[in-house]
């Protein structure tokens, strides 16, 4: 029984780490623009699919992954320049619809550039399951958890200690004041998208060996990443991480102990209950409006 419980937790944390990476992307873009970027899930897809395609040309795995991340970042920057910046004075709902249009566009493009089949990446360090106190863990799961932790650490350093990172945080608190002290909000927006794309693509390559990737794998992940960011408090980085891990655990434990058919519904119900009683999310976001 203990082994069962541990198995669920291991699976939940692995999925949760992916949601955390995607959720971080949502929070970063939200902080920079006040809008939800529904194309965030597509960055995950682009990371995974590019890596698969590049690997098929014969490049070594590490090079393929690095290039895939670069591709995703470029797409993110283009998305900002071509679709978001021209519409930055539109209302938030309009911006959301534009990002939805972008996600459709990217999905359609992926269909043409690659194909509609499901693909898998080789695991980074083999597939031999590791037995641990009655549960089995894949080495890839350790990669997922490890790299996510590293990414979070690097981000905290970036936002906490570098000048540009602090400038980005400042403009999310108050854009006008930031501009008054000379921070280029356009550049902040651009970098935010690039960063969000990088995180999404990272999630994509990390998880492709376990969960596969295909041209439409971005939709569900985007939704879950959004839920994770909300759960932890939109705009809060630590919140996105905590939210992601909690969401993953919630899903795995519901599937294991309650009902695998309803596990998504349970996760959303918990999220809803949280929104009603703790509208700031688990870690309390900056902006809560409640009547």
């Amino acid at each position: 029984m203990g082994g069962q419980w541990l198995q669920f937790v291991a699976g939940g944390l692995t999925a949760g780490a992916i949601y955390a990476l995607v959720g971080l992307g949502f929070s970063i873009v939200f902080n920079a623009s006040g809008a939800i970027n529904f194309a965030q899930g597509e960055f995950v897809m682009i990371g995974g699919m590019s890596a698969v395609a590049l690997l098929a040309t014969g490049l070594p795995l590490s090079v393929a992954i690095a290039l895939a991340l670069a591709v995703a970042v470029i797409v993110g920057l283009l998305l900002d320049k071509l679709a978001i910046e021209p519409a930055r004075n539109a209302g938030t709902v309009t911006l959301i619809i534009i990002t939805i249009g972008a996600s459709l566009f990217l999905r359609g493009l992926a269909q043409l550039v690659w194909d509609k089949r499901i693909h898998v990446l080789p695991a980074f360090s083999g597939e031999q399951p590791i037995a641990l106190a009655g549960a089995t863990l894949l080495p890839q799961s350790l990669w997922v958890l490890g790299v996510t932790a590293l990414a979070v650490a690097v981000l905290s350093w970036f936002f906490g200690r570098t000048l540009f990172g602090k400038a980005m945080l400042a403009s999310s608190y108050n854009a006008l004041a930031a501009r008054l002290v000379g921070i280029q909000t356009r550049t902040v927006l651009l970098v935010s998208f690039g960063l969000a794309a990088l995180l999404g693509a990272l999630a994509g390559v990390l998880t492709a060996p376990i969960t596969f990737t295909s041209y439409d794998s971005g939709l569900m992940l985007g939704l879950k990443g959004f839920a994770a960011a909300m759960l932890g408090g939109l705009g809060s980085f630590a919140g996105a991480v905590v939210g992601g891990l909690v969401l993953g655990l919630l899903e795995a434990l519901s599937a294991g102990f309650v009902s695998s058919a309803y596990k998504d519904a349970i996760a959303f119900l918990v999220l809803l209950a949280l929104l009603f009683f703790m509208p700031g999310g688990l870690l309390g976001a900056r902006r809560i409006e409640r009547v």
């Binding site: 939800i36 930055r88 539109a90 709902v93 972008a102 459709l104 939704l223 959303f268």
Partner: protein, 340 residues
Amino acid sequence: MHAGSNVSELAPRAVPRAGARHWATSARTGGLLALAATIAALPLVLVNNYFYEVAILVGLNAIVCVGLNLLIGYAGQISLGHAGFYALGGYGSAILSGTYGLPTVLSLVTATLAVGVVAYVVGRPTLRLKGHYLAMATLGLGVIVSIVLATEDRWTGGPDGMSVPPLALAGVVLQGERLWYAVVGVALLLAVWLALNLIDSPAGRALRALHGSETAARVLGIDAARHKLRVFVISALFAAGAGALTAHYAGFITPAKASFMHSVELVIMVVFGGMASVFGAVVGAAVLTTLPQLLTALKDYETMAFGAVLIATLVFLPQGIVPTLARRFARRRAGGRGER
């Protein structure tokens, strides 16, 4: 654009101003007449049943959008789960008439009202949230509905859906696209008329005040929660009614009707056509229902083209089609009279 200030900034301020009231009142009857004329004249170009089918689907989507537009455009709220109400209306009527043998008109009305009650119950806690939190909450509710509909297959037939008996009006079974076109046309006119009435009523003015500034409106004594809830329920009623009608028309319903993607499609239609514009909602539904039919010629490029059209339209016409065009015509007319 930052959500640091009042979060009911979700929709741009596209409400008509005081000086434009003459224009708004005459638009009400004039617009309604134009819509009725279009509906009456359209059969001239509908050459076969497939064309009628598309027109009927446009009408049904337009009914949902007119209701959703009241919520998003006029009340400044957002719902990313409205497909849930739509599907509940459809399944409710399907189960009541199919499994329990109720007469279809009765089941339609009952299901619609029942969904209204659900919207009331669910809306009270939900509408206390704002902005993205409201979006997430409605999204979550919609997803939960779609999961339940797909899982409880004893009631709902599971992921492949269930069949729905045809609508029978006073003993006459409604078959055939032409008859349905007439039914949907009348329903749409009714829906538009109701929406226009609501907007010009004291409740509607209170709504617009709320949208403008919730704090100011409350200072004036407007009960924000009550008005928002009312609009939420009304928009749910529109959606459920349209969902039930669609179920009886198509003869079946599937849980995909409650999906997040469907909710998003509905919001896109409203935003595209123009928020805070009843006729904008109709135009949005018309364009976005027919566009995929036209884009089939592009085959593999269809999804890309659709996404590109969305982005381009909203970048260049951020208020949506109808308000932007309307503003251009109003400016031209006002320029002639020397106003503004």
